[in-house]
């Protein structure tokens, strides 16, 4: 029985890979790929010059931007973890699972745009923008961790022990190490998210980065860029033990999570602004919807899928090509160190920022977005597979170089590669939506337009569509993983 399953597996893995490449090739005619700057070399030169000779802002400016970035991240992740924990306790209920899936299907930038309408440009809006989607993610991961614990201790408890005490004495202690590790890891993602929120006006590192990069002041942008990089790259060193509660308290002191709550405004938003315009004025809703469908929803969906498929294949290629550069099975200490550094940079920077830089250099088309998504996610895949390949033990007489790569290592890592890539699929779709804010007409582009036009009814409709797409893609990826018997793997943001 097992052999027959495995037989189907190997063929199926090959077919799945082929299918994804084929789909990406079919997408090519619809993809808008072109270089539109007449002289990208000149811009690249200015960027390099700016990075090499940064122009420093005052220490205070930089320190405040860093402090705010951390404050949003810590408060958002903490609130998300608490809410997610609560949801995880009820994760067996279908309604809770759907709620969690919907929360995490909307990108934090879009949550931020929504909350800014409700609470103004306030700390609370920023904290909630991180906390809400993260609660959905935490609910899922915590819920799964609880399910994976050994049921024996629980069953051995006295029959009438309350659910809570059963949880505290059996489930929680077992799941704790994984729970804590995952939460800490999520903090890293939180810092990235917090920086990205600056792009729409919260006072984090991204605020300065976006303004300065967009206007081409590379030397002035460089310090903020380095600050973000160092913050994320060193996060695992300073973010542990007693530092975490201390940082959280400091975050609450630096930016208390409050907002000028205006009841009337919130009420109007919920009961009027997000109600489709024709319903408000008692007209026929169908033409309104068809207009939205033809003009925005359909082209947005197509562009989102085309961008995601192409990025996924670029990600896969880069991942497969780059992982040997950090694997102990290849190269020497120096090449590995260098490559490791490059990969850290690529995976620390938010895709949005990478796309932004690529856009400046290559001009407006889908190409910068594909490059950005491919590089960022490819670097993550390469890092993970590189790590796993270090556990391989090869024969004493195993081949070296390319022979070793193609015969010994790649075939052994392929299953893992496929599993990781499928996990990244959902992330790639989420990120394609927000790259729309850079002008690529994905769903995110139209969502951003709807917010810019203050037509919240359309914005909410488009957000729901992008959430449904997200959930559908996640479902597809899960089905393929199950078909190919790719076991559950670590989560990465």
């Amino acid at each position: 029985m097992t052999t027959r399953l495995q037989l189907r597996d190997t063929g199926a893995m090959r077919r799945t890979t082929g299918l994804f490449i084929l789909l990406a090739l079919l997408c090519l005619p619809w993809a808008d790929i072109a270089v539109h700057t007449l002289d990208p070399g000149r811009e690249l030169g200015r960027l390099a010059q700016g990075l090499l000779w940064p122009q420093w802002p005052t220490t205070r400016t930089l320190a405040e931007a860093i402090a705010s970035t951390l404050a949003f991240a810590f408060q958002g992740v903490a609130l998300g973890a608490i809410a997610g924990f609560g949801l995880a306790l009820l994760y067996r209920r279908r309604a809770v699972r759907w709620l969690a899936a919907s929360l995490r299907a909307v990108h934090e930038l879009f949550w931020a745009l929504l909350f800014i309408q409700l609470f103004g440009l306030s700390t609370l809006a920023g904290v909630l923008a991180i906390a809400v989607p993260y609660a959905g993610i935490f609910a899922k991961v915590y819920g799964e961790l609880f399910e994976e614990t050994d049921p024996a201790p629980r069953q051995a408890l006295p029959a009438n022990a309350s659910r809570l005490s059963s949880l505290m004495f059996t489930t929680l202690p077992q799941a704790w190490p994984n729970l804590a590790a995952y939460t800490r890891y999520r903090l890293e993602c939180g810092i990235r998210s917090s920086a990205v929120l600056g792009f729409i006006g919260l006072p984090t590192l991204g605020y300065h980065l976006e303004s300065l990069l967009r206007q081409g002041f590379y030397a002035e942008a460089a310090p903020f860029f380095y600050a973000l990089l160092i913050l994320i790259a060193t996060q695992h060193r300073w973010c542990r033990g007693w530092m975490i509660p201390a940082m959280l308290l400091a975050a609450l002191w630096w930016l208390p999570p409050v907002a000028p709550v205006n009841g009337a405004l919130i009420w109007q938003f919920l009961t009027h602004d997000i109600v489709p315009a024709p319903l408000r004025s008692g007209m026929d809703a169908l033409p309104w919807f068809m207009d939205l469908w033809q003009g925005q929803l359909w082209p947005g969906l197509i562009n989102t899928l085309v961008l995601a498929m192409l990025s996924l294949v670029v990600m896969g290629l880069l991942g497969v090509m780059l992982f040997p550069t950090v694997s102990r099975l290849f190269g020497n200490r120096w090449t590995r160190g260098l490559s490791h550094g490059v990969l850290v940079i690529l995976r620390s920077l938010p895709e949005y920022l990478l796309a932004f830089i690529a856009l400046i250099l290559l001009g407006p088309s889908m190409l910068p977005a594909i490059i950005a998504l491919g590089l960022h996610n490819g670097a993550i895949i390469a890092h993970l597979i590189g790590q796993y390949s270090n556990t391989l033990v090869l024969r004493d007489d195993a081949a070296r170089g390319l022979n070793r790569y193609f015969f010994e290592v790649l075939p052994r890592q392929f299953r893992l590669f496929l599993a990781f890539s499928l996990y990244r699929f959902e992330t790639v779709i989420r990120e394609t939506a927000i790259l729309g804010m850079l002008g690529i007409p994905t769903l995110g582009f139209f969502i951003d337009s709807a917010f810019a036009e203050f037509r919240f009814d359309r914005a909410v409709m488009l957000l729901v569509a992008s959430a449904v797409l997200n959930i559908a893609v996640d479902g597809c990826a899960r089905i393929i993983r199950r078909r190919l018997h790719l076991q559950q793997q670590v989560q990465v943001c």
Binding site: T10, R395, D396, D397, G401, F407, E408
Partner: protein, 221 residues
């Protein structure tokens, strides 16, 4: 030099000396069997011998080290990765060339794997995998052969056939074995290892099972 030579050698594993005072010279044409309890240091000794001239040796380790998702053909072909250009290897990875296909098919037939040639090795039984491991070493076509229990997972009759094949194809053969009868039947020199030293080293026709028995003190029988 085409044989092996160890003089006053001590072999260590992880900082601990496993074998002391080794004085072993193996001349071309000899067929040597290493006997001793598991953990006696046979594998360590084979490794040390291999390091003396790695490029002239067909190496058959005890851990098969196969690539599970690749078919038998490719796992066998891998024995010669160092003998062809990388581009040619890649071509054979994607689409095997007729010449190599013919050679490997012939070898697989001798190993009794003719029907399984295009099956991923993860779908084979333990014994079949063990034959692929041996086949990969045979396909290297080197003058010397070092094998660490090459036939221990294979049934006795077929194991004997394969040992004959090994001896036919190689000038010099060094094998770690646990089957005493096989050792006596196929090798002309036996080295017994016990308590970290060479207990005896003599032509196989001068040994009886009574000489060999002390090598296995923990054996209940």
């Amino acid at each position: 030099m085409t044989g092996f030579r160890l003089q006053q050698a001590a072999l260590t594993v992880g900082g601990q000396t496993v074998l002391h005072d080794l004085d072993i010279t193996i001349r071309p044409g000899e067929r040597v069997a290493l006997l001793g309890e598991s953990g006696a240091g046979k594998t360590t000794l084979l490794r040390a011998l291999r390091e003396q001239q790695p490029n002239r040796i067909a190496w058959c380790p005890q851990q098969p080290g196969l690539v599970p998702v690749l078919p038998v053909f490719h796992n066998l072909y891998m024995g010669r990765l160092d003998q062809y250009a990388t581009a040619y290897n890649l071509l054979n990875l994607i689409r095997p060339t007729p010449a190599r296909r013919r050679e490997v098919t012939e070898l697989a037939d001798r190993l009794g794997l003719g029907d399984q040639l295009w099956k991923p090795v993860e779908q084979l039984s333990g014994g079949q995998q063990s034959r692929v491991n041996l086949g990969r070493a045979l396909y290297q076509q080197r003058p010397l052969f070092i094998g660490d229990e090459p036939v221990s997972a294979i049934d006795e009759r077929q194991g004997a056939d394969l040992l004959t094949l090994i001896c036919e194809q190689h000038e010099t053969v060094v094998l770690a074995l646990h089957n005493i009868d096989q050792a006596l039947a196929h090798c002309n020199r036996i080295i017994g290892i016990r308590a970290g030293r060479v207990a005896f080293d003599s032509p196989s026709d001068q040994l009886t099972s009574a000489d060999i028995k002390p090598l296995y003190p923990s054996d209940a029988s």
